[in-house]
Every structure is written in structure tokens, then in C-alpha cells.
Symmetry: C3
Subunit: 318 residues, 3 copies
């Protein structure tokens, strides 16, 4: 059996929900014995979610069902989030090698996003060339593009695509922009994913609401950004279902940041168990931490803001 504290705790938590022995094999058997939709739906509905916003670039579009299907399983409203790099890579896959046409395609998708039902944009620049996004350099970007390849990873090109998207977004009346920050899969250079590197980008696009995702182990740095920039919010996403001390991450998040800037999220994508665990552990952490930091009369206000109202307001879902 896997030996991380969180995995072990997850098995116990799932077993309790499923009504089986707290062992890996019992949980696995229960999963296999339940029809897949029924199993997923029971976990998703136990979260009490009203709105699901899902990245449209992970897993790859042809790998499975998307945001609509997850919303049906959860019995709630849902909407997609437009992954900027997905749009650019579809153009690369189609053989696009002219920079102006590539950027125009990105701008076009972004400009149409709100009308098309997308609730936000998202960038995974942290995975490709890091969050120290430089000013646009079209010559270097064109040169990188000319070298070919279907993966958007050369820094000048990643940065050029991101600037094109952010400019078009501000012109169109900006949607919120989610930014992958901090830990993730192994194809990430962690020091390049620290949210503090974003400074100049957050200043350049002042009219854009940014949402910093995940952030671990740079949670305090994200909290400082949310504290000093009016246009920055953050969540802890996969920190909560993956890190053994969700309450400690929450304490660090709220050391500086106002609770009007922190939002519930799970990064669960297509894994029903993660929806369930994130919802359970976020609420437990809030119940533990908020009374330490606030007066009794303020606790419910803060919990409702973090779990619901901040997101409804930011994404215009209310």
C-alpha cells in the first residue's frame, strides 16, 4: 500500500463514506462493484457543490467526458475554463508556423470565450517556461515557432501567447484568469512556479482578475499577493486533498490575505474521490482554523465567503 499519510487518510475517509472496511482492497472492491456513474455521482453529490468550473485542457479533450458530463454527475451547474495553451497547441498541431496567425487564433478564442460559455481563462505557463513572464518579444517568439514542434514550451513563445490572450481578454471585458502556481506533476520546475514571480504581469493587466491556483509550498507568497493587489485572488486547490495538513495550509493562506480573496477549489478534474475528499477536508480545515483567527460572529461570514460567495461574485455566477 502507498505510504503517504494523505493516501492512508483518504482510504479511511472513503471507507467511512462507502461503508466498508478501512482497507485499500475493501475500498477498491466497493468501487469495482458499483456502476461507474452511480459511484462517481454519489461522491460528487456528497460535496454539496452548486457550480463546477472545469479546465477544458486536462485531460486532453479526446480522453473522456468533459465539464458537461461532470456537472450532470454532480447534479449541478457547470461551465468550462479555457486553457490558453490548449488553443495554441491546437494551432501548432494544425501546422501553424506564422506567429501573427497563431496569436490571432488565440486572441479570437479568448474574445469569443464569454459568449461561448467559458467562465474563465487558465494558463499553465508555470509548467512550460515559468512564471517570470517577460515583455512580449515577437522576433524571438517567431524564431521559436519556426523551429517547429507541437508542444508550446519555448519561453518567448509561451510568453507571447500569454500576452496575446491577456490583451485580448482585457479588450473584451476581462474574464478571470486562473494561473497554475506551485506544485503539480513532475514536469514542473518548482522554483519557476512561485507566484511571487508574477509581479509585473499582475501590474500590467490591472483590469484582469487573477486567481492563483494550488500555490503550495508558496502559500504565504500567494497570500501576500492577494493582500497587496486588488486584482488577485487565490485558492489552494490540490493542496487540500494532497497535503497531510490542510489546516496548516489554510492558516498560512489567511496570515495576510483577506478572506474575501480566498476560494474553495479541488482540482479534482475527472477523479470522483478527489471531489469528495477536497470538500470534506476543506470544511474540516475551515471549522478548525477560522475560530482560531476570527471572533465567533465572523466565522460563518468567512466560511460562506470562502466556500461560495467569493467565487460566485468573481466568476459572475450569482
Amino acid at each position: 500500500m502507498a505510504t503517504s499519510a494523505t493516501y492512508r487518510r483518504a482510504i479511511r475517509e472513503l471507507a467511512s463514506f462507502l461503508g466498508c472496511e478501512p482497507t485499500e482492497s475493501a475500498v477498491y472492491e466497493r468501487r469495482l462493484a458499483t456502476p461507474a456513474d452511480e459511484y462517481a455521482s454519489s461522491l460528487l453529490r456528497a460535496t454539496g457543490t452548486e457550480w463546477l468550473l472545469l479546465d477544458d485542457g486536462f485531460p486532453a479533450p479526446d480522453e473522456g467526458e468533459g465539464w458537461q458530463r461532470m456537472g450532470e454527475l454532480a447534479g449541478c451547474a457547470s461551465a468550462p475554463v479555457l486553457r490558453i495553451e490548449r488553443v495554441a497547441e491546437e494551432a501548432l498541431a494544425a501546422g501553424e508556423r506564422r506567429l501573427d496567425e497563431l496569436l490571432e487564433r488565440v486572441r479570437d478564442a479568448v474574445t469569443r470565450a464569454r459568449a461561448g460559455g467559458w467562465a474563465a481563462l487558465k494558463t499553465i505557463a508555470a509548467y512550460r517556461s515559468g512564471l517570470d513572464v517577460g515583455p512580449p518579444d515577437d522576433a524571438a517568439a517567431a524564431e521559436a515557432l519556426a523551429r517547429g514542434g507541437r508542444r508550446l514550451e519555448a519561453k518567448p513563445l509561451v510568453d507571447a501567447v500569454l500576452h496575446a490572450a491577456l490583451e485580448a481578454n482585457e479588450r473584451a471585458g476581462p474574464l478571470p484568469v486562473q494561473v497554475h502556481c506551485g506544485f503539480g506533476d513532475e514536469d514542473l520546475l518548482l522554483p519557476a512556479a512561485r507566484p511571487g514571480l508574477l509581479g509585473s504581469l499582475l501590474e500590467r493587466y490591472r483590469a484582469t482578475p487573477f486567481v492563483l491556483l494550488h500555490c503550495y509550498p508558496f502559500v504565504r507568497e500567494a497570500g501576500w499577493l492577494a493582500h497587496v493587489y486588488a486584482n488577485v485572488c487565490f485558492d489552494l486547490s490540490l493542496t487540500i486533498p494532497h497535503v497531510a495538513r490542510p489546516a496548516e495550509a489554510l492558516r498560512e493562506a489567511l496570515e495576510l490575505a483577506p478572506f474575501s480573496k480566498l476560494m474553495y477549489a479541488s482540482d479534482a478534474a475527472r477523479t470522483p474521490e478527489l471531489y469528495f475528499l477536497a470538500a470534506r477536508w476543506w470544511r474540516e480545515a475551515l471549522a478548525e482554523v477560522l475560530p482560531e483567527l476570527l471572533a465567533t460572529a465572523e466565522v460563518e461570514e468567512a466560511a460562506r465567503a470562502i466556500l461560495r460567495e467569493n467565487a460566485l461574485r468573481l466568476y459572475g455566477l450569482a
Copy 2:
């Protein structure tokens, strides 16, 4: 009402001191109803401060009263701290465009500082070009200066001014040098403000006592520097009145650093409430943390060192 945990706690703390309801409006009314000097003085005197050392470059000299006035309000001795960048920017404002004359002006101010009553020097290089201060490069500095502007921000120029000040200071018999580290206002690139970047500067000016200010969220890094360099002390300054867990910051500070290297400070500048909150919360944090880390007989020794004696010794005020 603002939604940070610290703001909410500050309202309750101030209301308790002012004897009013624990609401923002009640505190604000009390403030407006009390003559300004009386209000400021009551908060400042409640801190039990013996000596106030104030940065002479913030707020700008023409924006209000300075170190003398704050000392009078607090009923204690006071002295100014010479902000190196203020001196250089006064020269820029006066139209100085020759590097040797600019640096001479900085050297001159530093050399006269002790006789003029300044208790220390201070640098805010972290706000301008970062703490990875390179070796002096006069050619690059002269070129940056020739480009004009009243703000000292080009890296070679910021570094050249800092080296000039530090060299003159060591020749004159050094005053302690305060270094802004870690968080602050939004015109700061947080990764460039990490104290660990200072390594070579701390080695180059071995005869100079350095004091690392604020340090959050790099408190542990500052503690390590205070642990390995004989000429490095640190404080937590604005960490204590702004971060929701002052005790946790203190724990991190003392994980490695000797308590003879940590000093009380508030960064309160001209805000009477911050003097009061810092004094109250520092003492609470010390009362909570020191008994966890030390034997009973050592707690008072450590508290007196951090609150008073380390600073008297370092700044030669005893």
C-alpha cells in the same frame, strides 16, 4: 469592513484599549473624537518604549512630522535612521548626473551620520533592484545615471550607491545597517527580497553590523543568516502587526537564530495604532513561545534581550 483576520483582531484590540464597542465604526468615532496628539500619545505611551529609531525617508520628509515629534508623543528618546536611497534621490532631484559626485554626496552623508545623530543606516534596495547586490560596476552605473530620472532604480546605480555607502560607513567606524527584506508594499518583487541573496554583501562588509528587517515569509532564511554570520541580526518588524500568527513567525525566527540576534521593532512609522498593536502582540507572542523553547529560568533573559538589550547594545544606546 476589511476581511483580513489581522484587521478584525486589531479592531477588537483597539476597542479594548479605547474602551468602546469592538466595531470599526466605534473605534473610528473614538479616534475622531479625541484630539489627534492626545490620541497618538496615549497609544504610543502604552507601548512602554524607551527609544524610538525612525527611518528618515518614509514618509517623504515634507509629508509630516518626523522622528523628534514621534519621540515627544511617545515620551521617550528618539533618533533618525539615514535612508541611503533618500540621500541619492535628493541628489538626483537636484539634477546630479555625474556618478563620482553622486557617490561622493552619499559618502559624505554617511561619514557625517554618527556625529549628526543618526543611529543607523538603512537600505531599501529590495524595492528597487533586489538583494542580489553585485560588485560595483562604475561604467554601468554612470550609464544608468546619464539616462536621467529622479528615481533610483537601475540596478547598477542602486548597487553602486549602496557600495559607496557601505564602504564609507566601514571607514568611518560603522553604524548598523538596516536592510529591508521580505514583504512590503506592492512595488516589490518578493523573490528579489529574500534575505538569503545577501550572502556576498554580508561577507564583503564583515565589520558592519547588519539588521534584516521584516523578513516574512523568509523568516527561517533570515534566522539562518543570523545563525551563521557574526555580523547579522534581524527583527520581524511589520510581520508582527500584519501577520495573523505572530507567535508562529517568532517560532520560525528562533528555530536557528540565537535570541541575542533578534530584536523587537514595529515599522509603525507615523501610524499610532501600529505602535500599540506591535508592542501588544510582540509581548503576547514572546509570552507564548519562549516557554516552549527555553527552560523557565531562561525565559526572562531572552525576553529582555529581544525587547530591549540587543538593540541598546547594537545601536550603542545604553
Copy 3:
């Protein structure tokens, strides 16, 4: 008396073991009054160690007794760890100025290491030019070598030596490679020692088991690497006997990392007191933290893995 919390605690811990008053002078007198071997042996044997693995490059080989002698004093098996930079610096001291011959000497030592009884390799690149190890650049390395000097510190040369060692090690059937990460003595630029910088090296040498040493204050970053890379383990080494909250370091280590990836170590080298303190405080920290993170039935499994079994398996000592 020194004023770090850990020093004060160490005096009390040693006094309790030695049966004397809890004062610095009483501990020191007891040390002087006991024959050196008897004193060292009593502390080493109190740790209950089965195997000692010691860096063969610190202290310098001619400064004292080595791994064999420490093993005799501890009454247990012992083996040396080959410090890659030691081999290269012996070549520099012998006047070697041809890059191919220098690298061949490194490759040769590494290739013979297992047969010669070495249990692992070790690199202190963090102390010399940082953990952002670039791809091999023989021209730049040759140029740096031609400039002379007995200390391996120019980045292209440090990196070239490390690549030569790692390549030879994989060809020979790899020994584990220990990597100094995080804090240490003052001749270290802390931001260059963060384990997250190792990303590309860990990917390039996929067949090599890496062990990240010390890691403070980047313990969470090390835990993430151990979580996502199958070939990465870590310890906390000198974090435990030097940092005032060993339990907190352990909590951070296990936030993400599986307990099969964390290993007991002390970095005690030739200091008998550090062996004793590390052993005592590691066990205390495990007894405090593991029950917080795991079910009762899992605690002993995790403690045995961290204290013993992970290392026996990794180093092939079982």
C-alpha cells in the same frame, strides 16, 4: 553561554545523560574528566545505531579518524561515502590541468566505488556553484580548469565533474547519490541550495537513487520531489539536531512525501554529542508526529521504515 534555544536544550539533554547539573560548565567538566574514547563511545552506543555511513571528505582526510574508527566507537558496522568533489580536488592538488584526465580520474574512482566498499556517492555542489546544474559544457570547464586553483568552484567545472561522476555511476550499476541541500555553513548561498533546482538532473539520471540531505528551510520542496520522482529519497540530517522544532520539520517532510522515502540521518560526522542528540530528538519527533498523521496500527510501520528499513533497502545493507 550561547543563546540559541537548541544549544540550551542540548545542554539539558546531555546533562541528563551524563548525570550532571544542567549547566554548560558541568557538561564541559564531565567531558574533560572522561577519557575521550569512553566519552564518545558512551554517546554513540546510546543511539542504538546498526550501520554508520560517513562522508569521506569531511573533515579533511588528514584531520582525524574516519569511518572505521567511528564504527568501532559506536560498536556497529560502518562504511564510507565517496565525496565526488574530494576526488576532483585531490587531482587539482596533484596539479592536474587537463580536463579529460581530471574527469577520467573521477570516473575511475566512481566505477571502483562499490567494489572498494563505498556505500554511496555524495556531492556538495550546493556549496560551490549551486544546484541548478547545467548540461555538460567541456569547453567552459576546460577553460575554468586552465585558470588553476586547488578548489573546485567554477560552475562549469563543478557541473562537468558531477556529470562525469553520475554517468560513470549509472554505467557501473548506480550507488545512491547524496546531495547536500539547504542550510549549512556560511560559505553557502542559500537560494542556490534549494532542492527544487535539481529537477533536470533528477530526470537525466533516472536510474540513480538520489538522497536529498538536510533540506531546511526547503523541507516541503524536498518532500514534493520525493513525492513525484520515483528515484528521490530525502532525510533531514542536521535539521534535527540544530533546529529548535524537530517535530515541525518532520511534519513538513511528511505533508507530501511517502514515509518510504524519508530516512533518519544525523550529519554528526566526528561530534559524538550530535549523534546522541539527533538519535534522541528524531525518536521524540517521530513519537509526536506519526500518531497525528497515521492510524495507530500504521505508526510503528512508519517509524521502523524511517529509522531503519528505508536505508537498509536503499543502500543495500540488509
